[in-house]
């Protein structure tokens, strides 16, 4: 029998009324079926994408992952540019967002009094609720022009003089606005999880080191951050998964050109944005199958990232949650 746990009714109760056993089992069956739907969806997702892109997988082979020529009208399908575009934008966003988010989380847990921490935490979380398209709209018409006039020249004059990748003509759409928009979008994810795991660090940990005469920053550095580290990393990886899968905001600001970016201002594609941009107007079955294969690669990538992140976050918060519940 699947009923377990300390508060499960005793089996002998079914002697008092025989029908209960059946009703209880039916209840398990119905709710269990609902839970199995989740498994079916995940399996179905992979199955459908694999079977619908099979012709492309067969035709392009490994060249699909490593080739950088994407020319549907010529029958060339190398998705390397999109994979590189996704990697550059999401990893840059991850680094920038983690820096900001962890400091914000520390500020909220360790420094700010609750009358300040609560509204700030709430405002940052609200950022997560704003739809992706609204970020995109704001990205093209507000952020893009701002980056062109103010940030672009600053980058070319300083970093650009040393590293060629940071040189070039600033544009409204391209890598840089995509990175900035993604950074803004994943800060709340990383902040919320970091705040939870930092909050879960036992007070005795802090008191111990303070009693030894540490300053507050030394306490954070020595006693808090190492303890919360794997949880914070998990949160950051969840942010990465979000950045990798983010579609419309990026599609609107990245410039959409299937060429390897030679500068931080160059237009390019991510995996999600090439699907959003080309799928509706795909010319023919092979193009469509190739785009579905891009989706498959994207799905596999986010799946792996998610699994790693969840395992890390669970390792830290699971034990603590059980304590709260019991």
């Amino acid at each position: 029998m699947a009923v377990t746990g300390a508060d499960a009714p005793r089996r002998s109760r079914s002697i008092i009324s025989g029908g209960r056993h059946f009703a209880d089992n039916a209840f398990i069956g119905i709710t269990g079926a609902a839970a199995l739907v989740v498994l079916l969806i995940i399996v179905g997702l992979f199955y459908e994408l694999i079977s619908r892109s099979w012709s492309s997988i067969e035709a392009n082979g490994l060249n699909f992952l490593f080739g950088t020529n994407w020319n549907p009208s010529q029958g060339q399908f190398g998705a390397g540019v999109f994979i590189v575009g996704t990697a550059i934008t999401s990893i840059s966003a991850l680094v920038l967002a983690t820096l900001v988010a962890v400091f914000v989380a520390l500020f909220l847990v360790e420094i700010a009094p609750s009358w300040l921490a609560r509204p700030i935490g709430y405002m940052v979380e609200l950022l997560a609720a704003i739809p992706s398209v609204v970020y995109g709209l704001w990205g093209i018409y507000v952020l893009g022009p701002f980056l062109v006039t103010f940030v672009g020249p600053a980058i070319t004059n300083t970093l650009g003089a040393v590293i060629p990748f940071f040189d070039g003509t600033p544009r409204v759409t391209g890598l840089l606005p995509a990175i900035v928009v993604l950074t803004i979008m994943i800060v709340p994810t990383i902040m919320a999880i970091s705040r939870d795991v930092i909050g879960a660090v036992p007070g005795s940990q802090r008191e111990g080191i303070l009693a030894l005469g540490a300053t507050r920053w030394e306490m954070i550095k020595i006693a808090v951050l190492p303890y919360a580290r794997s949880g914070v990393i998990g949160g950051a990886i969840l942010g990465l998964a979000r950045a990798v899968g983010e579609t419309l905001a990026v599609t609107l600001v990245i410039g959409n050109r299937a060429s390897m970016p030679d500068s931080i201002f160059a237009p390019t594609y991510t995996m999600a944005s090439v699907i959003a941009n080309q799928f509706q107007e795909a010319d023919g079955e092979t193009h469509r199958a190739a785009l579905l294969e891009v989706a498959l690669v994207l799905l596999a990538m986010t799946f792996l990232i998610n699994v790693v992140a969840r395992l890390l976050v669970w390792r830290v918060t699971n034990g603590q949650r059980a304590v709260v519940v019991e």
Partner: protein, 287 residues
């Protein structure tokens, strides 16, 4: 002040402490700035372009200024409503199973899968529905979009339901058992009603999330120039119309995109503030 406190190393440590405190405070300010800017621009540009005709007229033919987005408003309402209607029962069932029968290995695996599903890119879920519904029927349709939205809603509501059920005091269950109620009856009549406010707030948050999703709709419900209520035909939606107007060539499209964004953001702010007021800080939606 004693002798130790005057040593340079002590001063340096205090200095580092002050600098890092400043850095942390600055990070908080930096993180809040984008929200303020986005909300400001959406309000500023949105209110400038908001009009009654936007709400009650269908779009003009492209390039002819004026017209409205009634098609998108009704389409979004239909698909979001349908998405909640389809997704919520499954999600709540799933949450009940995880909370009641999931304190074991099977539950751990299922919980993990729910979390993984929550992290999957919404555009791949749209393509899944495209492959499952649109391709076999050779027809873009509203129901495919609604199903995609239901899948996005499912993991969010399932996890919130589970957590809300686990918060129900144990004494309540024990009282029901003591009166001779079987377990299913205890869950339906005692536990679920007690957790209902929490579940409803979770539903509201998930609803505001799917109301803003455009990526899963691009290849399922497609879009429609006219107001439609036919579930087996293409239908329009607010976020996907914002997307096409934002990337389109006409100034009045951009203005209408801002106005639509305003409607969407106001809806989400109202829902989220309302939820805050009801539930305190217990429930938050995370992507």
């Amino acid at each position: 002040m004693n002798e130790a406190a005057r040593r340079p190393i002590f001063r340096r440590r205090k200095m580092v402490n002050m600098i890092m405190t400043g850095v942390m405070g600055a990070a908080a300010v930096i993180a809040v700035i984008p929200l303020v800017l986005i909300v400001f621009y959406v309000l500023w540009n949105g209110f400038g372009s908001l009009s009654l005709s936007l709400l009650i007229e269908d779009p003009n033919s492209p390039g002819r200024p004026g017209g409205g987005v009634r098609n998108a408003l009704t389409g979004s309402a239909i698909m979001v409503g349908l998405g909640v209607a389809i997704g919520a029962p499954i999600a709540i069932g799933c949450g009940v199973f995880l909370a009641e029968y999931g304190q074991n290995r099977l539950g751990t695996v299922l919980r993990f899968l729910v979390d993984v599903l929550a992290g999957m890119p919404s555009i791949t879920i749209g393509l899944f529905m495209y492959a499952l519904v649109v391709l076999p029927n050779k027809q873009f349709m509203a129901i495919a979009g609604a199903l995609a939205l239901a899948i996005i809603l499912l993991p969010i509501v399932a996890r919130i339901t589970e957590e809300m059920l686990l918060l129900v005091p144990r004494g309540l269950r024990e009282a029901a058992y003591a009166l001779g109620a079987p377990r299913w009856r205890t869950v339906i009549r005692i536990v679920l009603p007690t957790a209902l406010p929490g579940i409803v707030t979770g539903l509201m948050l998930a609803l505001s999330r799917i109301a803003g999703e455009a990526a899963p709709l691009l290849f399922t419900s497609l879009g429609n120039q006219f107001t439609s209520t036919d579930l087996l035909r293409p239908i329009d939606a607010l976020p996907s119309r914002i997307y096409s107007y934002a990337s389109g060539p006409f100034d009045y499209w951009h203005e209408q995109a801002w106005a639509m964004s305003l409607l969407l953001v106001l809806f989400i702010l109202v829902v989220s503030l309302g939820v805050r007021a009801i539930a305190g800080s217990k429930v938050t939606v995370r992507q």
